[in-house]
């Protein structure tokens, strides 16, 4: 079957999709977006967390056919999604349910992730990297990334929580991220990162 949907603001078509394929498989193997991770493929670890019409879901538990005509945001589009949100009053797509006043559906739909470029991990003076979202930068700065396999799912989940709850308590953070397993860090630096992102967000830095 053919599945047509929007990923990171861009229309995508996947052909010859077998009906049993998950959204995760289509993203990773058919659309060249392997950022969403395949740690358990049974909805337990949260590594494949994406936004489906604004709602965080495990992409491994979503049948590909279910996303027909819908909006998906993955870690690859997170930086631009966050940028769009801050420009658009709190919501990057009209679908997330908390859009601020003045963001029209059309304006929200204008959002489109830019293509990724550098593979060096750091920009140079002549070729600056796409700016990271606050939560992405905070994960790096706080040392919340070790092997990094849980990171994409945690970033999408944490970003969604900060969208809903810009000043979370530690208990709020733990509750919101309890569906995302990490085996390397012991979570302490993930908490640090989310606190850091929240603080930077509230101070406008």
């Amino acid at each position: 079957m053919r599945v047509t949907f929007r990923v990171n603001g861009r229309r995508q078509e996947a052909d010859d999709v077998w009906e049993g394929e998950s959204l995760l498989y289509v993203l990773r193997e058919r659309l060249g977006l392997p950022g969403s991770k395949n740690a358990c493929e049974q909805g337990e670890c949260g590594s494949c967390t994406v936004r489906l019409d604004g709602v965080p879901v495990c992409a491994c538990l979503v049948a590909a056919g279910q996303v027909e005509g819908r909006d998906v945001v993955t870690v690859e589009g997170l930086a631009d999604y966050a940028k769009q949100r801050s420009a658009g009053g709190g919501c990057a797509t009209a679908a997330c349910g908390t859009s601020g006043p003045g963001t029209s559906l059309d304006a929200a739909r204008q959002w489109e992730s830019r293509p990724t470029d550098s593979a060096t991990g750091e920009g140079t003076a002549t070729s600056p990297r796409a700016t990271l979202s606050p939560i992405q930068q905070a994960f790096i700065d706080a040392g919340a990334v070790q092997c990094g396999f849980c990171t994409p799912g945690l970033l999408v989940a944490a970003d969604e929580m900060l969208e809903r709850n810009p000043n979370p308590s530690d208990a709020d953070i733990r509750e919101a991220l309890s569906g995302n397993l990490c085996r390397c860090t012991g979570y302490e630096k993930i908490l640090d990162a989310v606190r850091l992102a929240a603080a930077r967000q509230s101070e406008g830095v």
Partner: protein, 794 residues
């Protein structure tokens, strides 16, 4: 060539510079937060096939017949291979003992053993085709523990053993036996005023790294194969893969793809050979990705253990002796069982001064899942038991458990049960003092102002208590782990370092085969290069087999050994750079000949701080490159009868204090805080060091209260191969983990550093157990603790 996801150079410099001792950020951090970092399961090739492995549904059976015809006839299937299709006579592999069949040879010895492999154009096609392979099994009796494995009529799992442990193994189903005998335990027992005995059970733990076993094998025009893979040691894989394929090692070109954690679980091969076989058979690239279910069968686990301990002490609290017997279940194949035995034995008395010691450790062959390396490697199981013993002794003596440990703590100069003198700092008593001195979290927080936040109580969001039935306990533990490969192993690493001017700036390029599995080796290599070569920009090249072996990313050894190799190669590069400088500029300034010269801030400077030349002017278009091997001090094997020998190169120590709250009615445990103090010698990257300690601590917490692979003793089948049924700590299960890092230099190690990764995994588990015992008064001789153990229902 149409492959996406192949690793590229990572350059780090202006924004995140920093030498050793600074909390420099990861050079791969940006790639990892944007989703661009390519893990082994992200590899893709335009016309690749998918491999799938058919595994045994039973634990022990003769294979009567295999019929692959129907599978092969499925549309989209390109190849089906069994034992009979293997290309050479080398059909087994293994880290130390080559006892593991690439594909089952007429017999399977454990649940999940690979029997056949399939390549097809879609993973589901491959899976369905594998299901159509008809295998007739004739089941055989199983052995699952010491009694059944060594019974007179026990089936011998590996008849005709020729490995070098076989001659001294007391039974063919015992992989290896290591005694450690020192002093006279019988005599010492006579001096003891109190004696405590204990039998302990340690469950089977899984590494549960999140990135599943996966990789891509691409057949090459020269008849060889390019393999992109997640592993802990490229060259050890290569040594095992090439002979099975019938290829010389230089035709199996391996590149490290992104590794999603390891913790020992990637020391053994998983799908490496299978992917290469299918690629060479079909002439097409083949990708294999395990799902989580298969991952539980696809790697070895931590050895479950039964541990018997007897300790004695005098009335004034001095340990007299220890008698110990540890039985490790190695499962169906040897993996690294012999080395795990050596560790459990040599570290079995813990970080204490005990002159009279009688230890025996064995590892069994059984039909249970194969066990091998996991973070802590034999020292973990022993620490769980000897720390329980310390608490029992302290209680019996009426002493404080921390003071009792401090009274017996080893220190620099102490002698191990192996006779080895500990020749670098061993601050065991100090680490205990530090965790004890940390402020305790406030008690009964649920009774404060706004009432209970159920999220902070046992049972959490299940809302099972608002404080009623909840009691608190505090427990302590300390452990000792070796760093590096032991027992005479030639534990070397190789580094290639190049210095050149790129874009008007001096750049250091570091190339090693070190497996970055998340620990931050790439961060540390860049820091070392900056410190030694005075540059800002460092490029880390992808790890591959085009450079010499780096040894394994295990045994807490990579910062020590490959870090040591990078440092050494940098020193040689620096000498060559200074040589060029002397040649070009020596006549302009006498300091070139007389002063000690350093490279700093892109310049050659004297030790007095005077700049002599810019590196850009000095090098111009010259390229300085060095590839060198570096090794730590040699170690010795343990004597087979007495266990005596200088077997380890370095020891590392950590202590924990656990604070738990237990709902005694429901048997639910909430770990409130898990504080750790660890000596790291020198923290090359303090941020990463703390991250390692917190991560290791959390794996120990999992082992204390939730993690266990359940194997049905009647069938030897794994009952919980999923993250639904095998639980690892979530962010809700994990408490605050304050860390106190001590830096007492080991003069024998580069920069004085001490391996960090494993020690925190040791003492975490027994500290939590001690806290639960303190809260409940229960004996709790097994880990993990489950609710039924706390409510008297087990």
């Amino acid at each position: 060539m149409g492959t996406t996801g192949t690793p590229t150079n990572i350059t780090q410099g202006s924004r995140t510079s920093g030498g050793i001792g600074e909390s420099t950020l990861r050079p791969d951090g940006t790639l990892k937060v944007t989703g661009e970092f390519a893990y082994s399961s992200d590899m893709w090739h335009e016309d690749m096939l998918w491999g799938h492995i058919l595994r045994s549904p039973v634990a022990h059976a003769e294979i009567v017949s295999i019929d692959t015809s129907e599978a092969l006839a499925q549309p989209g299937v390109y190849a089906v291979m069994t034992y009979d299709d293997l290309p050479t006579d080398v059909r087994n592999y293994g880290l130390e003992i080559q006892d593991t069949p690439v594909l089952a040879n007429g017999r399977v010895r454990h649940h999940g053993e690979p029997v056949a492999i399939v390549a097809a154009d879609h993973p589901e096609t491959a899976r369905r085709a594998a299901a159509k392979i008809k295998v007739e099994y004739r089941e055989l009796p199983i052995v699952t523990d010491e009694a059944t494995a060594t019974a007179p009529d026990a089936p011998v799992l590996h008849p005709g053993r020729t490995d070098h442990h076989a001659p001294h193994a007391p039974h063919p189903n015992i992989v290896h036996r290591q005694p450690i005998v020192r002093g006279d335990v019988e005599e010492a027992r006579g001096r003891a005023d109190v004696i405590v005995e204990g039998e302990y059970v340690f469950g089977m733990q899984d590494q549960a790294f999140l990135g599943p076993e996966s990789g891509l094998a691409v057949p090459a025009e020269d008849g060889g194969v390019d393999l992109y893979i997640a592993t802990q040691w490229l060259h050890a894989d290569l040594r095992q893969i090439a002979p099975v394929l019938g290829l010389p090692e230089d035709k199996v070109r391996m590149t490290l793809a992104g590794v999603g954690g390891a913790f020992g679980g990637r020391e053994d091969l998983s799908m490496q050979i299978h992917a290469c076989l299918l690629a060479l058979r079909t002439g097409k690239p083949v990708k294999i990705v395990y799902n989580r279910f298969e991952s539980f069968f696809g790697h070895v686990h931590r050895h479950p253990a039964k541990l018997y301990y007897e300790h004695g002490a005098t009335r004034d609290g001095k340990l007299t002796h220890v008698k110990c017997r540890i039985v490790l279940d190695g499962g169906a194949y040897a993996s690294s069982s012999p080395a795990v035995v050596g560790n459990a034995a040599s570290l079995g008395a813990g970080p204490y001064v005990i002159d009279d010691v009688d230890i025996e450790v064995i590892a069994l062959y059984t039909n249970n899942p194969p066990c091998g390396a996991m973070r802590g490697f034999g020292a973990v199981q022993a620490c769980f038991a000897y720390e329980a013993q310390m608490d029992k002794l302290a209680a019996k003596l009426g002493m404080d458990p921390v003071e009792f440990r401090q009274l017996n703590a080893m220190e620099q100069g102490s002698v191990m049960p192996t006779g080895q003198r500990v020749d670098s700092p061993a601050p065991v008593a100090e680490l205990l003092r530090r965790v004890k001195a940390m402020p305790l979290p406030p008690e009964r927080q649920w009774e404060t102002t706004e009432g209970a936040d159920v999220r902070q109580l046992p049972g959490g969001l299940s809302n099972t208590t608002h404080g009623e039935g909840v009691v608190r306990g505090v427990g302590y533990a300390v452990g000792i782990k070796n760093v590096g490969f032991s027992e005479g192993f030639d534990d070397y690493s190789t580094a290639r370092v190049r210095m050149e001017v790129v874009g008007g700036e001096p750049v250091a390029v570091v190339h090693t085969a070190m497996a970055e599995v998340g620990q931050g080796g790439v961060t540390v290599h860049a820091q070392i290069a900056r410190t030694e070569l005075g540059v800002t920009q460092v490029t880390i090249q992808p790890a591959d087999t085009q450079v010499g072996s780096a040894g394994s990313t295990s045994a807490s050894r990579q910062t020590y050994v490959t870090g040591g190799a990078v440092k050494y190669a940098c020193e040689l590069v620096r000498e060559k750079v200074l040589e060029i400088g002397r040649r070009k500029f020596g006549s302009y300034h006498p300091a070139w000949a007389t002063a000690e010269l350093l490279l700093e801030g892109g310049k050659v400077v004297t030790d007095g701080g005077e700049a002599l030349a810019d590196l850009t002017d000095l090098l111009e278009d010259e390229v300085v490159e060095v590839e060198e091997v570096w090794r730590h001090r040699p170690t010795e094997p343990f004597d087979l009868r007495t266990g005596q020998g200088n077997g380890h190169v370095q020891y590392s120590f950590a202590a924990h204090r656990a604070v738990v709250e237990v709902d005694t009615e429901l048997g639910l445990v909430k770990v409130i805080e898990l504080a750790c103090a660890q000596d790291v010698g020198k923290a090359l990257n303090p941020l990463s060091v703390v991250g390692q300690i917190q991560g290791g601590t959390t794996q120990g917490l999992g082992m204390a209260v939730m993690e266990e692979i359940l194997v049905d003793p009647r069938t030897a089948k794994v009952r919980n191969p999923s993250f639904t049924d095998y639980l690892i700590p979530t962010i809700l299960d994990t408490p605050t983990i304050p860390v106190d890092v001590l830096e007492l230099a080991d003069e024998h190690a580069p920069y004085g550093l001490r391996g960090v990764g494993e020690a925190p995994t040791l003492s975490s588990t027994p500290a939590v157990l001690a806290a639960i015992r303190a809260a409940t008064g229960l004996e709790l001789a097994r880990t993990p603790v489950r609710p039924e153990h706390l409510t008297g229902m087990a």
